[in-house]
């Protein structure tokens, strides 16, 4: 996790949901912290704070972990935004959103294997759109990364 702020010093510690995590000092305005998978295994809103050596804790910043369904809906929103921007045409948008919508339906009834199948189909279609030049590398990488994160949660 990258934490941006001010007055960071060597020895500053990031706490996630009240638990101190291994922190690396990057600069006076940036820290990185190692957040174990167990910290984000459950959806919810968690507090992130920074404590300097000998000092008090900073103000708290909220960190939201989405449910797999919410995370998938966020990917749908991203795909629809690409359509609205003219990056994707109608058929491409529809095809991608269909796979994601089905993934949500499958998650709702506990069929994670089915949902993973939909997400893998989605990733495959995104790669096809990358190879055909419809999506840029960064656009495709963002979508694939988001889908893979959901798959990891379901696996």
């Amino acid at each position: 996790m990258t934490v941006n702020g001010t007055n960071f010093v060597s020895g500053s510690t990031v706490s996630f949901n009240g638990n101190a995590r291994a922190t690396m000092f990057v600069s006076a305005t940036q820290l990185t912290a190692a957040i174990p998978a167990s910290d984000i295994a459950t959806a919810g809103t968690f507090n992130v704070t920074v404590t300097n050596p000998g000092g008090g804790a900073s103000n708290s910043v909220s960190f939201t972990v989405l449910t797999p369904q919410q995370a998938t809906q966020a990917v749908i929103n991203t795909v629809n935004a690409l359509f609205s921007q003219g990056v994707l045409n109608g058929g491409q948008d529809n095809s991608l959103v269909t796979q994601l919508q089905h993934a949500i339906i499958m998650m709702n009834v506990g069929k994670n294997a089915g949902a993973i199948g939909n997400l893998e189909s989605f990733i495959s279609e995104v790669n096809d759109l990358l190879n055909s030049g419809v999506l840029s590398s960064s656009q495709a990488a963002s979508l694939v990364s988001a889908a893979e994160s959901v798959i990891a949660r379901l696996s």
């Binding site: 269909t98 709702n108 009834v109 069929k111």
Partner: protein, 441 residues
């Protein structure tokens, strides 16, 4: 000797062909319905977009419903009024908090009640009231510990209390709830699902005359495939049936996401979004690991489940009521009516659906014969009906069809006009007889 003339074989074949064609035409006509788009949503900012919920029809024939960004009224002349705007985003299709996914109910005073799947004080959805002056009041904001993110709407008892289901709230370790909001606005959780009795209830509840609530839980249950439950007025929950479905050999269905209806004998009718076991490979189109394309089932008062129909994912449809809001409609003759999210007669092709087709409106007769009353094309008629239907006293059906941005629309409200024939009087039958001129000698 008089010579009798007989038609030759080719004439007989031709006659038989004509009879068959006429019979086929007659059969088609008896099932044909007239489909009318009553309203096409224009999308924000002027109109709503993407109706995921069904409709409420009042005695005057007005239709009320929700889209992902509005509560609307459609009068019998087809004039739409946006009664309230909810969470309209700046990018079409990317909506903000307060999105309702469900149909509304109306009390005798004309107030509307519904749910939103997100929004509220904690972002986990609300139960809301929209009064006749257009003022929207949040009756309850889900906190997570009381469930959240309701897919279905609420039912109203005679005293004005509201009942519904809150879906799971994983962050709070909640697997789903049945809730009540009384007339003073007090919210009570009547039941917390534990997993063995189901989880993730999305179909809402119905209430019998004794005050028992019945509903479905789309997941968990004894076999992990969902359950049908009953909740008595004292809050005692009973699992009436646990689905075995999936691709594990059961063919009874899996994932009862939709709601229930009950007949006078106490039989319950519902749907499962997947399962049904028509295909032993466990697929439905390109959807793997689901054990079928869904079912229509009946559960008798003794808890015996019968699959009335298993969808095959072809022209007969697939995935009924996938998100929760929606239940079957049953007419006096025992015919059942509903929608499927996908599948149809080959229209909507080329869009890489999981199953070919943009969805259907179907009829299931008491003998289990399914008829497709309408296949959505994804054009001006909309596509992908998520919710159920309402039927008026003459048998006309009303519903909503969603869309995707890519299809170039924001969804529709539609009507399927019944072709129910009214019996003619003998006099009118006589008048209808064609005149036959007798040959003169």
């Amino acid at each position: 000797m008089k010579h009798q003339s007989f038609p030759n074989r080719s004439v007989l074949r031709f006659t038989a062909f004509i009879v068959l064609v006429l019979a086929a035409v007659a059969a088609t006509r008896t099932q044909a319905q007239t489909f009318t788009v009553l309203h096409s949503f224009a999308g924000p900012p002027s109109d709503g977009a993407f109706p995921f919920g069904g409709l409420f029809r009042d005695a005057a024939g007005n239709l009320y419903g929700t889209t992902l960004s509005s509560v609307f009224k459609l009068d019998p002349a087809g004039n739409e009024t946006v009664l309230s705007r909810l969470g309209i985003g700046t990018v079409p299709g990317v909506f903000g908090p307060g999105d309702p996914y469900a149909a509304l109910v109306m009390d005798p005073a004309g107030n509307l009640y519904g749910t939103s799947r997100d929004g509220g004080a904690f972002g986990l959805g609300t139960v809301f009231k929209l009064d006749t002056s257009g003022t929207l009041t949040v009756l309850h904001s889900f906190t997570g510990t009381d469930g959240g993110e309701p897919y279905a709407g609420v039912v109203l008892d005679a005293a004005g209390n509201l009942y519904g289901t809150g879906s799971s709230a994983a962050a709070f370790g909640v697997l789903g709830t049945v809730f009540k909001v009384d007339t003073a606005g007090n919210f009570t959780v009547l039941h917390f699902f534990t997993g063995s009795d189901g989880c993730g209830p999305s179909g809402g509840v119905i209430m019998d005359a004794a005050g028992n609530l019945y509903g479905t839980a789309g997941g968990c249950g004894a076999f992990g495939q969902g359950a049908v439950f009953k909740l008595d007025p004292l809050g005692n929950a009973t699992v009436l049936y646990s689905f075995k479905g999936g691709n594990t050999g059961g063919s009874d269905g899996s994932g009862p996401t939709g709601g229930l209806i009950m007949d006078a004998a106490g039989n319950l009718y519902g749907t499962t979004v997947v399962g049904g076991g028509f295909d032993t490979s466990g697929t439905c189109g390109s959807q793997t690991g689901v054990g079928g394309c869904g079912t229509v089932f009946k559960l008798d008062p003794s808890g015996n489940e019968t699959v009335l129909y298993s969808f095959k994912g072809g022209s007969d449809g697939a995935f009924p009521f996938p998100l929760g809001d929606g239940h079957l409609v049953r007419d006096a003759a025992g015919n059942l009516y509903g929608t499927t999210l996908e599948g149809s007669l080959g229209t909507c092709t080329g869009r890489n659906q999981v199953v070919v087709g943009c969805g259907t409106v179907f009829k299931l007769d008491p003998a289990g014969n399914e008829t497709i009353l309408y296949s959505f094309t994804g054009g001006g008629d909309g596509a992908f009906p998520y919710a159920g239907l309402v039927m008026d006293t003459t048998g006309n059906l009303y519903g909503t069809a969603s869309s995707f941005l890519a299809l170039g629309g924001f969804g529709t409200v539609f009507k399927l006009r019944s072709r129910r024939r009214h019996p003619r009087s003998p006099a009118s039958r006589l008048r209808a007889q064609p005149r036959v001129r007798r040959p003169s000698p």
